[in-house]
Symmetry: D2
Subunit: 266 residues, 4 copies
């Protein structure tokens, strides 16, 4: 979600979706929640109150310096797992759902064209070690925050069969390649953003356009106004195995075409 525009569409629509679709677990990426850059404790609480069971982050995790402090007491706030040892917070959190299921939510950051954190592939191996899907936990949700489609697809295949779903974030554009991989892991290259698409990755388009064309900025990035879309990935898992049985994109409101998971629509 990007800025107030993004928060508003989430807080206004999420409670209804939780109810209508009987959602067991809602995970929201909040790295751009505060004016486009990072997250504050107040905003974290706002997102949780709206229905998010966990909030993941990314390269903007600590743009708001207070996140380095409050993340320690925010049990459901998950930052990229492959930050160096000693980084405040956690890279994976065990969440108990409304219905009593146990779900591991992990956030991992890619390295291609991004600040090089520790090896994301080795990091997910360590996180999953001893956490057998369908036995130790009922589901495993992985938010892979990365730039390139190649690293994302490779990461999806790497996790296939070991987690319930891998959903990419960071590009702020929803992809249309949702599917269940051969091993049973639901996959979507990017969930897209909650915010206004009449901008540049959720920010007002003037400043980005200025920088692309003139190579000299004139100010700060500000979230784009305008009608906002809520974007996400809907996955249903097999209670016995924790693997995915159904997967569909969610796109509601704003400038994008609407998409609803048929399997949850009454």
């Amino acid at each position: 979600m990007v800025g107030r525009t993004g928060r508003d569409v989430v807080t206004s629509r999420l409670p209804g979706l939780v109810q209508d679709w009987k959602l067991d677990l809602v995970v929201v990426n909040g790295e751009n929640a505060a004016g486009g850059f990072g997250i504050t404790e107040a905003i974290y609480n706002e997102i949780r109150t709206a229905g998010a069971d966990a909030v993941t982050l990314g390269n903007h995790a600590f743009d708001q310096r207070e996140a380095l402090v409050f993340i320690e007491r925010a049990d459901a706030l998950v930052r990229p797992i492959n930050y160096p040892p000693g980084t405040p917070g956690r890279g994976a959190a065990m969440i108990e759902t409304r219905g009593g299921a146990r779900v591991l939510v992990a956030n991992v950051m890619g390295r291609a064209f991004m600040d090089p954190l520790d090896d994301p592939f080795a990091a997910i191996d360590r996180a999953l070690d001893g956490v057998d899907l369908g036995r130790v936990v009922d589901a495993i949700v992985v938010d892979f925050h990365a730039e390139t489609t190649s690293e994302k697809q490779a990461f999806g295949h790497y996790c296939d069969g070991r987690v319930s779903l891998v959903v990419g974030t960071h590009t702020h554009v929803p992809t249309a390649d949702h599917r269940i991989l051969p091993g049973g892991t639901a996959y979507l290259t990017d969930a897209g953003m909650c915010g206004s698409y009449d901008g540049v990755i959720g920010m007002d388009k003037d400043e980005p356009l200025r920088r692309f064309t003139r190579k000299i900025g004139a100010g700060r990035f500000e979230p784009a106004a305008g009608p906002a879309s809520l974007c996400g990935f809907a996955v249903e898992t097999d209670p016995a195995t924790g693997l995915a049985v159904k997967a569909a994109p969610v796109r509601l409101g704003g400038d994008l075409s609407e998409a609803r998971p048929a399997f949850w629509e009454a």
Copy 2:
């Protein structure tokens, strides 16, 4: 389209689509047509025979060295317009459709996380100078070959109102953000790839996974086998203005969810 897998799905399905949907103009990106790297004259002719009116390229344009030669006689083969002056071939081609309409097809390459060619924004300005949409030409199609969603969205807004459509390529993953921008230009961040999605951007997944995890390759990239998808962007323009009136994604076959333009389905 990526390799033989991609060519096969295009050559087998495109003729039927041209007929069923009464397509006036078909543009195909062919930068990965030859084993994943570049294009040969034989393959170019094969794609044209299958129904493509123009073939665009990208950063892999000249991976097959023969393309530097045959592009001069291949009138409908379009390489990125912002290669340096003196580069063989053309960055925009005037195509006459079956129905006698005149369409400018341009290929432009982004610079973010890519080899820095000349300024893509200045290049499209020059290409459009004097080529007024709806007056000098009936439509203008721009294939913006770029890595980042931000540069692609910025480019879309930059062209809005001046061209019929801006469709991104290069990430090999179809995005779900098709829309008509406020000025009347149809926009899709990425059209996706024609080829197998059970791989990494169309290539067999073993070698990419090896490089991501071990950081040392063991061989060459080979196109992924397996059921192939055809992906694209369907746009209908207003004959009077050349601007878009309808836009929808196309996804047929393979591992992806099917998408067909409702407005062309009888």
Copy 3:
């Protein structure tokens, strides 16, 4: 020069050098003069007063927003020539030396691992068009501001025989590869920085080390304190041809080994 540390070493030592070495022309790179980021008019005047005949810039040219304005009246302030058309200021300036010679001073920015400006090779061709060395001008000084040694060496060879000297900047570390290229152009991959070398490229080392090891910053970059070095490139040209006849590095003070041009030492 980086921050006050860098300005101090320049303003204190440059006047003596101008006198002792009978310097005809002094060019200083000032992109980091203001606290490490950009340049102000006051600082520009300070550098000029200290003896600089021209001040070049780089990727930090406009970090201080006022530079976009005062550069128009600062005739000897030169920003990268390959910014887009319409950028305030100039990419090359004709300077008249104390002795009445005419010297073209150009600033060009590389693109490898940098923000992609226009083609630097094409830009220098245009700048040199009609400006024949030894006929139209007495000397041509090119500050090539770039990251990689490969682009810098390629640029040096590209200009060889057409300019008096190509000196690299941007890495803030002096290289030891000064030489006169076969065509008569003096070349040095990087002139190094004026400032304290007990830091990280002239900035206090704490924050850079924190970012490299923890991947999360804790504050702003500040220029490093400590004894400062003045670094540069001394070139003597043939009055008849404008080509270089002697070239030597300059390193004075601070933590670096001293280097003085023997040919100017009485």
Copy 4:
């Protein structure tokens, strides 16, 4: 050393230097020894015979596929330590000098603008754990193979006081910033290359220039011919502490200015 040009200058001059300067230990970077790309077993043996006690590598370590095999039996061949666990070979080797001293030679790769290996800072910490300089070993030599001056300087400061010397490689251009850091570690941002400087980082200049100016290559990179330079870093350590007491650059032959360590010249 780059290609045959580089090997020739090393094999012809190194034996004499070992004798004249009474060298206890010689470390050579060999990542470009085989035609510019990687190293073969025959070449490794050739370098060792010429007087190298250890051979370090870098991003081109395994360009010659045979290196993945013979590195296991080549005890003094050291590849970047921060390749993933399981990579063939070793990232640090204990070398016994002619005089019976024990020296740890480590090779570490930077991540800025390079393929992201594991954290180089954490990797050197692990390598030095329990290997106290002056007690467990007589000297520690670190070849930090990296692109940017900022990561190199940060790495030097990070190791300061714990190793005898940190010498950068990879840019193929010798820097002039040799010094002994406050903690007693000798430091040089880049040792430069052994090979011809009448090229682009040791390769014939035609192909690099073509790629920079036309953005399309026409062939392979080949080592530059022409008179070659031998470049390096001379460091003398205190036998009691293992820290550096003297440090000077070495540049012999070819197009560069000559530099010899005065403290070793009789």
